[in-house]
Symmetry: C2
Subunit: 261 residues, 2 copies
């Protein structure tokens, strides 16, 4: 049965998250229903990242199998016309049967937006974490390299995490200013539950001057979640890319820019 | 009675527009109710621009009179805690009694966002006008200067416009690319109803190759609304600044950037 890969963008605000659940609307359900209509048969969809309630995506990658034959353009237009305005499909393409959006991914990239200004923002209310006091970006940037590499990330692991092991390879953690945003870019082979948001919460703790940059390394070493900072709010987080071996030909999204939101 | 000026940001999506109306929630009503609570007496608010349904603002300016005495910070925090998340107050300050947000304004600036990409965007669904075909930005840029200056703008005037005269002084009309957006910046002493959106609709007509740049000048000269392009959708429009004589000390907003949304 032919397999298709798709790229998905969504505003996570009204959803219980990617994954189908007993309560609340899931993005998975919305996308499955849209493609099932186009396929004229039920489809089941697997994704690169199971984002939480309120978390957004510009570069979610998923796949499904179907007996239906449509060209890429028909899948794309058909799915988008069957989806609510807060979910959109960016591309659709054929992939070999051995491609799996979750298991073939060699890494994921998330971006996190912190809106650092004195007053809250109506337009960014569900799109960024508002921090009203000035953050020391240089201190946050000094801390970031201390958690790069393969480590036991238990200190940044959510209580409900179901991963078998807390070992992850954090390949990139960069912070830059973009207008009034501080943008955090974070890439790892895979992430523990709440891992990005707990790292960002700890970086903000440093940015507020409540701990020196070195503290981030000692939190990692201690492997104790209670020692880390608070969990950053969901609405600042964006799944921006799934990384795959080149042989699958998965489209590389443009560099994420807050401009594109 | 002391007079206060305020800066306001809003997501216009769920509102019937700035101005109080019989039907639908207005931003004016929301802001009046919030400041009335802080003042502990009813206040009436006048604004620089009466934005339409679905139109946003990052730099709306308004004023009101009150007998209540609070410091600026108390007004700001009090109003923001009494406003829904999609409206926020950026600043509050004392102004002389002769300041009037509408009549003291010497100019207004609006920005318009066009999202130019093949597929629609979930995250930008209410924040920009999605145009799926490639637009010729250079042609649009070549057309813009043809409508600069003081003219009869009847060709770009909405049918419900109540202005006494169609003469306006268009002081700035610039287009640039920012990521996947085309950003249109438009400044005039004042605007006719739908004037920015009708100019943008005509620029897009040129960008699509349906008319040469010179066409924009001939539309202006003809003073016939039926000759111009369609009205660009409301959700791409942002009121970003009211311009006032320096003596009033009204804060100058940072340059509008899509990054800040």
């Amino acid at each position: 049965m032919p397999r298709l890969a798709i790229g998905i963008e969504y505003d996570g605000t009204r959803f219980c998250g990617w994954q189908r659940q007993d309560r609340g609307a899931s993005i998975q359900t919305a996308v499955e229903e849209a493609f099932s209509r186009v396929a004229d048969e039920p489809v089941k969809i697997g994704a690169a990242g199971r984002t939480d309630a309120g978390v957004h995506a510009t570069g979610q990658v998923a796949h499904f199998d179907t007996r239906a034959r449509r060209d890429s353009r028909s899948w794309l237009l058909g799915a988008n016309s069957n989806l609510a305005p807060d979910v959109s499909v960016s591309w659709v393409q054929d992939v070999p049967a051995e491609f799996n959006a979750r298991y073939s991914a060699v890494a994921r990239t998330y971006h996190y937006l912190i809106l650092n200004r004195p007053v809250r923002s109506a337009l960014n209310r569900d799109r960024a974490w508002w921090i009203h006091g000035d953050l020391d970006l240089a201190a946050m940037q000094a801390a970031a390299p201390l958690v790069l590499g393969e480590h036991d990330f238990s200190a940044f692991r959510g209580a409900q995490c179901q991963a078998r092991t807390p070992i992850r390879d954090l390949q990139r953690l960069e912070l830059r200013r973009s207008g009034r945003f501080i943008v955090v870019e974070c890439r790892a082979n895979a992430f523990l539950h709440h891992m990005v948001r707990n790292i960002v919460g700890s970086l903000v703790h440093i940015g507020r001057g409540e701990a020196p940059p070195e503290w981030l390394g000692s939190v990692l070493q201690g492997r104790d979640r209670r020692a880390a900072g608070i969990t950053a709010v969901a609405s600042g987080l964006y799944l921006t890319r799934g990384h795959y071996p080149a042989e699958f030909g998965i489209p590389v999204p443009e560099q994420f820019r807050p401009d594109d939101l």
